[in-house]
């Protein structure tokens, strides 16, 4: 039987089915929500809105389409939630105005009502954003009007409307960049389509179940989850669950027999391990996406139902580290293994294994690799402090460029932290020697500062390009002797530079000279310097250490 007229009862039924269909799909629509605010509530909001409308309709028994539509619109208005909810209420406000006073609807009436609803909806906004529910409503209404000119079958009309809505929805990413970026279609538009599909199902006399909405693909959902989780973590808090884990399982009959699978129960089980959980399954395959701290548990749970087909685990902290440096750091190391708790911990920075060992030998708990040209970040400090696990922490940055990062890190730590701004390795060593675990943090800082001030630092390194400094011409590849901040000598021969530098640094008050030679120098070459010093100066002790540091052939301290 073909219907040419829609009566009030049918219309009410359409509304109810539309609402049911929306309600069934609201979770999926939530997942698509990235605009205007990616808070994942579009489906829920639209569902609440339309439910409020339907409640009014159910409460009023009438066979008059105009009255049904009016009641529905009123219910929508009262219950409008969220942006798409308000738009939906507006669409049907226009719709109901158009059919006011009509007892039944022809195809033409229906198309006009759609058009009027869109007009109304567009009037209530200053700057309509295209690529949203508005666009989907507009495109499908246009289609309806065109269709009604040549065909007066409302069922076919509705079919055309749904088809056009679907096509329009597909186009939304081209109109709204944020959708394209995330790779989804508009959530509100999807909601409207779902409602229209409900309408169509009733007109065709089908059950809604036959019309199961094409599910958004796993990939789509994963993208949305990531987008949301990034947004949330950027602003609100740090990452609680560090690994993006995807597992694909092929169901095995034996295992499933023993351990019957239901998506819901499985979801419950997994939810304790992390968030951004997605579970999709068909007869053969089970796909899981979750952000978990312990991916192993997730895999074990999934494996109960079958065999592993594919596993992908990504460390999200690494991925986000550039954006989330600080927030993450506090958490990232929380779960990593901790050192034994101590009262004091000294954390220092150096390049070269030899120097690191030197610091450790003198009692530094942690040595962060870094220095000139390779400054450690605040995050590195925070991590080291967490791992050091102490109540009181002293940071020795050993480079003027790193002092800032150390201070920044000190301000975010829970422990009592002081930064002793050592600007070179010798200063750091001197400060470390002055450390006394029996003293208070403040007293130590004072002592260390005093000690590092008494040390003169010299460095021998090579020029990476031709340059001229203070009137001195320096050629690429030449060696330079740097005394504190100034280049005091430059020659092609490294040994000569070192000797020259030492000669300028040592004076009659000097007692101890410490030479740390780099990875490009040998013990023998360093000993040559001792001979030189002993030749020219009396009464000084010289110590040499193998530092293995790159870039600097020698690091010299004189005190």
């Amino acid at each position: 039987m073909t219907i040419n007229l829609i009566d009030g009862e049918k219309f009410a039924h359409m509304l109810i089915e539309g609402a049911n269909n929306l309600s069934n799909n609201s979770k999926k629509i939530d997942a698509l929500n990235v605009f205007p605010v990616p808070d994942g509530d579009t489906g829920t909001n639209m569902n609440l809105t339309i439910t409020s409308g339907v409640k009014e309709v159910k409460g009023q028994k009438t066979d008059h389409v105009g009255k049904v539509a009016g009641t529905f619109a009123k219910g929508l208005l009262m219950g409008a939630r969220g942006n798409s909810g308000v738009i939906l209420s507006q669409l049907f406000r226009g719709f109901s105005k158009s059919v006011e006073g009509k007892e039944t609807l022809t195809a033409k009436d229906l198309s006009k009502a759609f058009e009027y609803g869109v007009d109304m909806a567009y009037k209530a906004v200053m700057k309509p954003v295209e690529g949203t529910i508005l666009t989907v409503a507009k495109d499908s209404a246009k289609k309806a009007v065109e269709f009604a000119k040549s065909n007066d079958n409302p069922v076919e009309l509705m079919e055309a409307v749904v088809k056009e809505a679907k096509a329009s929805l597909k186009r939304t990413p081209d109109l709204l960049p944020v959708l394209k970026e995330v790779g989804v279609v508009d959530s509100g538009g999807q909601g409207l389509l779902t409602i229209y599909e409900g309408f169509l199902a009733v007109l065709k006399g089908e059950k809604i179940v036959d019309l199961i909405q094409q599910e958004p693909s796993m990939n789509e959902l994963v993208q949305v989850e990531h987008h949301q989780s990034m947004q949330a973590h950027l602003s609100i808090e740090d990452l609680e669950f560090g690994y993006c884990t995807e597992v694909m399982i092929k169901f095995e009959d034996e295992k499933v027999k023993e351990n019957p699978f239901t998506e819901e129960a499985f979801r419950d089980t997994l939810s304790q391990y992390g968030d951004s959980l997605l579970v999709v399954s068909d007869e053969d395959l089970l796909k899981v996406h979750i952000h978990a701290e312990y991916p192993g548990n997730v895999i074990t749970e999934a494996q109960k139902f079958g065999s592993l087909v594919n596993v992908k685990i990504e460390n999200m902290r690494e991925q986000h580290s550039s954006i989330l440096e600080l927030e993450q750091a506090a958490n990232a190391s929380a779960s990593s293994k901790k050192n034994e708790k101590t009262e004091y911990a000294i954390i220092t920075v150096s390049m070269g294994e030899g120097i690191a060992n030197l610091f450790k030998g003198l009692g530094a708990k942690k040595v962060i690799a870094g220095g000139q040209t390779m400054n450690p970040s605040t995050e590195d400090f925070v991590k080291a402090m967490e791992e050091a696990n102490a109540d009181k922490i002293i940071l020795l940055p050993n480079n003027s460029n790193i002092v800032m990062a150390a201070e920044q890190a000190a301000s975010v730590s829970d422990a009592e932290v002081i930064v002793v701004p050592s600007k070179s390795v010798p200063q750091g060593l001197a400060a470390l020697l002055a450390f006394n675990p029996a003293d208070s943090l403040e007293a130590n800082k004072e002592g260390m500062l005093e000690s590092l001030a008494s040390v003169k630092t010299g460095e021998v390194t090579y020029a990476v390009r031709d340059t001229s400094l203070n009137g001195v011409q320096i050629k690429k590849g030449d060696f330079m002797g740097i005394f504190e901040k100034d280049i005091v000598t430059t020659l092609p021969n490294v040994q000569e530079v070192a000797k020259d530098l030492l000669y300028k640094m040592v004076d009659e008050d000097s007692e101890i000279v410490t030479i740390i030679f780099g990875e490009d120098r040998t013990q023998k070459e360093a000993e040559e310097l001792i001979e030189y010093l002993e030749e020219h100066f009396e009464d000084i002790d010289v110590e040499i250490h193998q530092g293995n540091q790159p870039l600097y052939s020698y690091i010299v301290s004189v005190e």
């Binding site: 009262m78 308000v86 209530a124 200053m126």
Partner: protein
């Protein structure tokens, strides 16, 4: 007249005008808003005369001590919408947009509904 944010490398100053424009832009993206109500008649009047787009209209940024930032938005809504919901949508959109674009945390977004426009299509 600026809002200051500190980072590792130094500070970032964002003029209130910029914050107002972003907030205003976010607001008129919201469904149900048909206009903004000017609070600075003279300034907005002149901008109108010059025919410039004036997104900062009807937005007042207040910065209290303790770096608290409050935004007052004077809006005109469409008749027949659920006004409380429209206002709420504006609040969340403005807050989100400022956080996303400027990394700016806003303490409050206060909505003043200054007018309602009746539209008959």
């Amino acid at each position: 007249m600026t809002i200051e944010m500190k980072t590792n490398y130094g500070k970032i100053d964002v003029s209130k005008e910029v914050v107002a424009v972003i907030a205003g832009g976010a607001a008129i993206d919201c469904y149900g808003i048909v206009g903004m109500a000017s609070q600075k008649q003279l300034k907005d009047g002149i901008t109108d005369l010059l025919g410039k787009e004036n997104l900062g209209r009807g937005v007042v940024i207040r910065e209290l001590e303790d770096e608290e930032i409050h935004i007052d938005m004077y809006i005109i809504v469409s008749y027949g919408t659920k006004i409380s919901e429209v206002a709420h949508n504006v609040q969340s959109k403005v807050k989100y947009q400022l956080e996303k674009m400027l990394g700016l945390k806003v303490n409050s977004v206060n909505i003043f509904v200054q007018g309602v426009r009746v539209i008959n299509p």
